[in-house]
Subunit: 513 residues, 2 copies
């Protein structure tokens, strides 16, 4: 199939980072805004986010959470309360110091010195402290627990090096915050939400993930435990796609979140927080994209089926459009994944072939082209985005009959969804080595000659403190990090690869975004 | 019915402003956050916003708009470009001047002087200028037009005097921004979106509105025409519930939004913008609330039916819960307004009567209570929130059979939706005077003795410039403003009430929020 002329100019195997940028621009998903570190999310990118939001929001509500909205501004003093938390975030926040602009007399505007805030406000990098204040007001007794809240919001973390969707100064996310009567319940909830994220990633985004606990050094600032889902990108790097934190009583102490227990005693709440963000979209691109652009899993595609009439600006166009409208109407009555099909009939002027490649690059799951000959034969020309090329190196068009095509789409979409997941899972599994037990093997494997070394599962003694620091340093030299301690791993059976002590658990190490 | 013991402590007729605050707190919709001018929107308030969002978003998409997301930060220099625009907003913006905090060595955090931004960033008060930059990049030719975008976002306008939902420093809204090839199309689109707002207000929120053009002095900063929908609150004041602006080429000139027309010539685009915000929720409260709390129209109620089992912490509870689950299951198969019913079975501990009054105050459209006696008789006890009290001053419970109740709910909800709208419309129409032709009549009518003077429709000569300023001053003395020039008003037939010149059009004058 070397004669294929792919729709992108850069191949994954040639320059993955450049390929990533090209997918985003070729699929018209987002662009630099001109404002430092902030992107503009364009309709196709935002449409995918809306789908992720809708599906994840349902899962979050099903687990008993209510959505709320908290202020974007957090008083600076809130950050002074929880020492570890502020250490983690202090370096990268947008600070509002004035509430008015005035003309400087030279045709420019400047912050009005008369309108300096007494206490600066921070644009939320995350909302633990401000939601903690609300929880302290809302919780009096054990009857108020558990308190299960969630918020969809924008947050800002000043980033020096940004990459669209993966690391931007402003990003969109959901942040869940819950309060519980005791440790057991809070820990259980932390894992429940991790499982919600796993299900969302795998079932909605068709992105296989490994759920597990982060090592001590990778914890969220102020957390007692941090859990993550980790996905393998096509360059073998790991992407942390969601995190769930058990915060113990750290934030409760700082914000005074207490309740009266059944015996009348005052107790501190145990809290959790968990979030996923627009970073997920970067994960979708690097999991499913190919050398022709993005491939969007049908569950989260803004449009699952795109109909392209081959208009020629002639009177025959009318019959062709009516033929296409029939197909659209039939498709609109079908459901897939429990929802009505999302169908687009593109009537805009422009050549059908050019449009086809636009939607290939965008990764619409099914493209239906209709030309005069199709109409005469009572068929359509159908392309599956996940299986674009025929053996002969040409687009692999199928020709189902016009009257039968609509009812075949739901099964086809399910097949595509499944195929994308299975491809990604097979690729990931093929790129995890489990046979490495010595540090020199590890360095050799991650040697620069390996373009895509994938992940390595090793066993370690679960070091803490200084001993962990040493391990982190060793890994850093290889540009590696511990991704997580996977849930449900096989028992240990060898020595710690770092210290030679008896191993305690298995971990994944990898390069990461 | 003077023996009714209402669920709120303040009556609308006693102190409308205090009543408004009590509804918000009694319905648990929102609260002060402790951050100046920002509120916390709680689940019931946010749930209503989610419903408004969902329904309005569908309407916006149906009219061809795609959702995007633009940066929250706008470089200060963007505001220097469009002079009128900056005049309108310059006084009330949150200004980010630093991107890092550091410890001051005394246990406090301060903005890091080393991290001062070269150019301050403004937290968006509205996004015309930043979206204008994007439009200038996106539009090259007439083929790119019309460009129809929308964004759901938070915005900040520093407010000195705030009132929850009605005027807060941070609020949530949608802002649509479009670019067109010529004036006619842009003006037509401005009115199309005004009509979308009218339909949303009246059909989704059951809130009757008058659509019309704002006078010159009330235009959005930088707009050529500003149109609004105005609703009458129960104290007779007007609430501007949504605006749609034709911006001419003002923002296109400032941001250089040009296109090549079919003849190859460069032309400036004509742009529009339009928005509605969480202020709508304030309108819902003041349109539908009564002395027992909020009444939420079924279309936007987070839950349309609330089932309250009268649990007694005894073994019989199990049978009662199973009876209630049956009702819930039956309700879940029903649809109203083209969507599945939203039903809540409240199993939390607590007395049923206390819960009933909680949901009365929240304004759930239908409350179904089930006690042991109901179960024995195979019925339920049903309350319509919009018709709460019987002639005898007691809650007006109905007793439909358990097996028939579910299928009666869709019609009942439609009836409630309609009743709320008709009540509001009748109230509004009864409170508009059209017989006032002289200024002394006007001042007399709006004299302090009139508690709820409502609106007055008068005729005027459509003054501009200084002449308009004089009129505005005259009205200001009576604490009045011109609300709008209603679309489709009767022809003029008298003199201008302000100048005595021949009248040109009819306008509404009123006190306003």
């Amino acid at each position: 199939m070397s004669n294929i002329r792919h729709a992108l100019s850069v191949k994954r195997s040639d320059d993955f980072a450049k390929w990533y940028q090209e997918v985003i621009s070729a699929a018209d998903m987002a662009e630099e805004s001109g404002v430092r570190g902030c992107m503009v999310i364009k309709p196709w990118g935002y449409g995918i986010w809306e789908r992720i939001q809708r599906l994840l929001d349902e899962r979050i509500k099903e687990t008993g959470h209510d959505n709320c909205y908290f202020p974007i501004f957090i008083p600076l003093s809130n950050f002074e309360r929880e020492a570890e938390h502020v250490d983690g975030f202090a370096k990268e926040m947008a600070v509002v110091t004035h509430h008015r602009l005035i003309a400087d007399g030279k045709g420019k505007l400047v912050p009005d010195p008369q309108a300096k805030l007494e206490e600066p406000l921070v644009v939320r990098p995350t909302s633990e402290t401000i939601i903690g204040d609300a929880m302290a007001r809302w919780i009096q007794s054990w009857r108020d627990l558990p308190l299960l809240t969630n918020q969809w919001a924008n947050v800002v973390r000043w980033e020096m090096r940004t990459r669209m969707f993966l690391r931007t100064s402003e990003f969109l996310w959901q942040e869940g915050h819950t309060a519980h009567a005791d440790q057991a319940e809070a820990k259980e909830h932390t894992l429940r939400m991790l499982e919600v994220y796993r299900a969302c990633a795998e079932e909605d985004l068709a992105m296989p993930v490994i759920a597990g606990e982060k090592p001590e050094n990778e914890r969220f600032p102020g957390a007692v435990e941090t859990w993550s889902i980790e996905a393998m990108m096509q360059d073998g790097k790991a992407l942390q796609a969601g995190t769930s934190h058990y915060l113990g009583t750290n934030f409760s102490e700082a914000a005074n979140i207490r309740f009266q227990d059944k015996d009348g005693a005052q107790q501190l709440c145990h809290t959790t927080s968990w979030g996923v963000s627009t970073r997920m979209i970067g994960g979708v691109i690097m999991t499913h994209g190919d050398d022709d652009g993005l491939r969007v899993p049908p569950t989260i595609a803004p449009y699952q089926v795109v109909i392209l009439p081959m208009l020629r600006d002639k009177p025959e166009d009318e019959a062709l459009l009516s033929y296409c409208e029939d197909i659209k109407t039939a498709l609109k009555t079908e459901t897939a994944f429990g929802e009505k099909l999302r169908v687009m009939l593109d009537k805009k002027p422009g050549k059908a072939a050019a449009k086809r490649w636009d939607y290939v690059r965008k990764g619409a799951p099914v493209i239906i082209e209709v030309g005069g000959r199709d109409m005469d034969n009572g068929v359509v020309s159908l392309l599956r985005r996940d299986a674009l090329w025929a053996e002969n190196g040409k687009p692999d068009f199928h020709s189902p009959g016009k009257d039968a095509v609509a009812q075949s789409i739901p099964d086809l979409l399910a097949e595509i969804q499944n195929a994308l997941f299975e491809q990604a899972r097979a690729r990931r599994d093929a790129n995890i080595r489990t046979d490495i037990t010595e540090m020199n093997q590890l360095s050799e494997h991650f040697d620069s000659k390996h373009v895509h070394p994938g992940w390595v599962e090793v066993q370690w003694c679960k070091p803490t403190g200084d001993e962990l620091e040493k391990v982190v340093e060793q890994l850093k030299e290889l540009k590696l990090t511990v991704r997580n301690v996977p849930i449900g791993a096989a028992p240990v059976d060898s020595a710690c690869i770092f210290t030679g002590k008896p191993a305690v658990e298995r971990i994944y190490v990898a390069k990461a975004y």
